[in-house]
Symmetry: C2
Amino acid sequence: FAASMTTASANEELQKLIDDPNQWAIQTGDYANQRYSELDQITKDNVGDLQVAWTFSTGVLRGHEGSPLVVGDVMYVHTPFPNVVYALDLNDDGKVLWKYEPKQNPDVIPVMCCDTVYRGVAYGDGKIFLHQADTTLVALDAKTGEVVWSVKNGDPSKGETNTATVMPVKDKVMVGISGGEFGVRGSMTAYNMSDGSVAWRGYSMGPDSDTLMDPEKTTHLGEPVGKDSGTATWEGDQWKIGGGTTWGWFSYDPDLNLMYYGTGNPSTWNPAQRPGDNRWSMTIFARDVDTGMAKWVYQMTPHDEWDYDGVNEMILTDQEFDGQERKLLTHFDRNGLGYTLDRESGELLVAEKYDPVVNWTTGVDMDETSDTYGRPAVVADYSTEQNGEDVNSTGICPSALGTKDQQPAAYSPKTQTFYVPTNHVCMDYEPFRVSYTAGQPYVGATLSMYPAPDSHGGMGNFIAWDNTKGEIKWSIPEKFSVWSGALATAGDVVFYGTLEGYLKAVDAETGDELYKFKTPSGIIGNVMTYSHGDKQYVAVLSGVGGWAGIGLAAGLTNPTEGLGAVGGYAALSDYTALGGSLTVFALPN
Amino acid sequence: FAASMTTASANEELQKLIDDPNQWAIQTGDYANQRYSELDQITKDNVGDLQVAWTFSTGVLRGHEGSPLVVGDVMYVHTPFPNVVYALDLNDDGKVLWKYEPKQNPDVIPVMCCDTVYRGVAYGDGKIFLHQADTTLVALDAKTGEVVWSVKNGDPSKGETNTATVMPVKDKVMVGISGGEFGVRGSMTAYNMSDGSVAWRGYSMGPDSDTLMDPEKTTHLGEPVGKDSGTATWEGDQWKIGGGTTWGWFSYDPDLNLMYYGTGNPSTWNPAQRPGDNRWSMTIFARDVDTGMAKWVYQMTPHDEWDYDGVNEMILTDQEFDGQERKLLTHFDRNGLGYTLDRESGELLVAEKYDPVVNWTTGVDMDETSDTYGRPAVVADYSTEQNGEDVNSTGICPSALGTKDQQPAAYSPKTQTFYVPTNHVCMDYEPFRVSYTAGQPYVGATLSMYPAPDSHGGMGNFIAWDNTKGEIKWSIPEKFSVWSGALATAGDVVFYGTLEGYLKAVDAETGDELYKFKTPSGIIGNVMTYSHGDKQYVAVLSGVGGWAGIGLAAGLTNPTEGLGAVGGYAALSDYTALGGSLTVFALPN
Ligand SMILES: O=C(O)c1cc(C(=O)O)c2c(n1)C(=O)C(=O)c1cc(C(=O)O)[nH]c1-2
Ligand SMILES: O=C(O)c1cc(C(=O)O)c2c(n1)C(=O)C(=O)c1cc(C(=O)O)[nH]c1-2
């Protein structure tokens, strides 16, 4: 670890770690974001005997997203702001090998839209990459916790913050940015792993030189995007404060040399203030990892009227589709549609509702010859644009939280099924005029949220999804949104956590509940698994918070506070309280 | 619950709850402070199979002392400042029935000497008694969490605070006070359970009308104390800021109608500033619960020179001593001596070191005819008084934390053995002159602490003690002080927690370790047990802090900060981090 490895060997080492099911080197488990583990000591037949093996309190109260990493004999645990990192010795009962606690200006807290969450560190090249709330990107020596280098990706005084994990790829680290509620213009930046210098930066909007688009070669649904497509659908300079932030999950296909991620909502939430399609907010990007050049894009929600950020993970699978082996990309969007695309070409294959209550659209136009090809048909009743400013549009499904938010889904190649933690929440949305001031909220809508009416009364479902048919296989109703990430394993078990705090294990085929355990606090972390000393462990962070848990996390009680989420989730305090801790499970000895 | 019960029936109900091993109605388990449970589903033979049944995060970070209560189907969980109380439904997976969160001025935090701990609520008369850090005593309706009444016991602006639990007895609630490091004059106050009015208050020092002493009838080692004994051994008005606070545990003998408790250090820590015996600091009090009148007292450490507060619990047992059935009181004092007294008369029966490293005294004069009867003989080398102001007395054992601090011991009538969590720490102590300002620290000594030299290297032991012989039966070395309270059960198991966070179960006869589990954070809470639905549970709060953990709890790193405790326990951060949570254990189904 003493010196950096050569690029090639660092890259090889990381790929080897990712391929080794005993370890968990990056947040997403693998580059494909499948969150699938080959470990099969814990099976659907014995998972009922699971026990808590050990626990670790993080010392931080607010929402704990992401998961620990395991590299060799060391577990790395991160926290929300102040973004502490612990290295725990798995050979010595979790003893703290080192702890890194950055000093950050707490002024960043009020410019984080949706709790002070952090989706976790990543490993690469003997380093632990920490991307702090204040956008400082730090490379820590994985052995000692010492700072190898540190750079600043954004400026919190302008509302630029971070909650996302980074993705180490080859000799670079891919880095996103948050701040769509503060008029931040989103970007993806590749930093060189060796010294933190910038390799490239691609913005979500702006001239081609900013978006790294080739008017001819970059395509949208098979057609060239044309010149300056990142400014052409905006009025004036509005694109400069246009949102489209990149705070979700990133994936990567080594064969195609492409990375995939989605962009967030256009700013502000008041659609009347930004006429046009607002490209490339709400868009799936496929970029060359070496140059940053966009190969293809697909905008899911042109001219957003509901805050349906397009940042949710892109899950890469190789599956048969219409009789052909295809390189697929599956994406469960906030807007309630589950998309399947060809990830090489960006061709749209499937776009179907993954919650039947979705009502703002009747669906996506799949007719390639149509003028509105690939566009969702908007239902006038639920169009906050058509209803206008200062009008409360009611009964829109899903709510701004989307049918799924940041909580990542899992995919099992064994069952060829996606396991998706979802929200089952609708909303009222009243847009109003705002003016932009750097570093001040630039939201422009008042929201209230509630369980989907005329349904099971709960605010979430955990579903199994067929991405080639665009169909729900089974659905487990949940009292609250499932804000935790799922894990699928070769033991035919799927794990997820609930906002009340349960870790649940279900049968990958049937969805039957096989095990549940109440962890100290509500779970918004992602379940991971590793093995150590020939024993399989399952681990999850609990610590309620995130946008759904913002009422508890920030101590808010007014129903429309927390961008409208406080009221809907008020009953959470009947089940759980704040507190970050790791719970590690295993079968009895 | 609607109206208060009659005194007699409330009293009867509480005694019944205390006698019922399925419940845990007051912090000490019973009035005798034995911390022994008749439950025997978990035995020394099966305790190795123990599992975590459920967990609950409290939402508060700093040190969690005390334990939950169980009354009927409800568990009551408290937190340190801000002193939240949760009522959890044991019939519904620990769902929150109600939560009470007092509003307290945070200015109280810096006037709490040893972390913002709270040793827990008590049940009585259909009420939950909460004594807040700011000394507000609140009676909450146990069913609804509504405030029935509320009174203020002290004034935090003068350094008066609270950390102790209250003891409900008959129609009264017994209430102590903290602030010995701020020149607070200690007192015990009995409030009427029905409305919170004061029934009596007995000070630790002052004229007889304040101390509630009868010059003729109140005795010290069999002799009348004489007139105004609470001022006679003080210079001038120094007794008014004389300390002797009452922040420990209280016990009660219904047959004798006496309550027992100890008083803390005389203020300041610089002995040169307060010549004389400083009565009745460092004293065991036996008071009539109806009138408050002191029946007998025994001062263990006259003219304290080391901060050896005498507040540790008095454990009441009926045992044979020298061939006679006696009503005994056993007390493990901070000063390193384990005392056995006759609790009816106050006769001193045994006073022996319960850690062989204790060196400040050669022992207590047990010759009834001697002038120094009952006094410890002070070793000049370790006398901070004799060495003088501004001189660093080194190598004193125990440290100011004592051989035992607030962490309560347990007693098993089956083995007639006491199980004592202890400190194995020594110190350097340099007194200096201070002047008194209300609400400002009035300490006057600089301390540093370290593991007992020439021993096993650790800072604690968990010992078994024979109180009639004054002998250690066995001793388990521990890396850190055992700052958690012990529990003994009819299953011949003894439980305790460690500062690293382990819950441990040992064989009551041999001390052999039978089980251990690493809870989320370091344990300074007290282990309790209850049964629900015919299943025995063991529960403990983790959440590192207290005086030993003050470095972690308050974020202090300078070794002499935290009244000298920071340096000695610096290595704690290699094992654990802050975070309050409850872990509940049971045997597998
Ligand atoms: O537009 C943005 O920049 C931005 C950032 C974040 C974030 O960084 O957490 C969220 C959102 N938007 C958002 O719309 C959203 O629903 C959301 C949920 C969460 C969360 O972690 O629970 N973060 C965010
Ligand atoms: O003199 C006092 O009033 C006073 C109060 C307290 C307290 O209230 O916690 C402690 C002490 N002294 C003290 O000497 C001491 O060792 C101590 C340890 C602890 C703890 O909870 O860990 N509190 C206190």
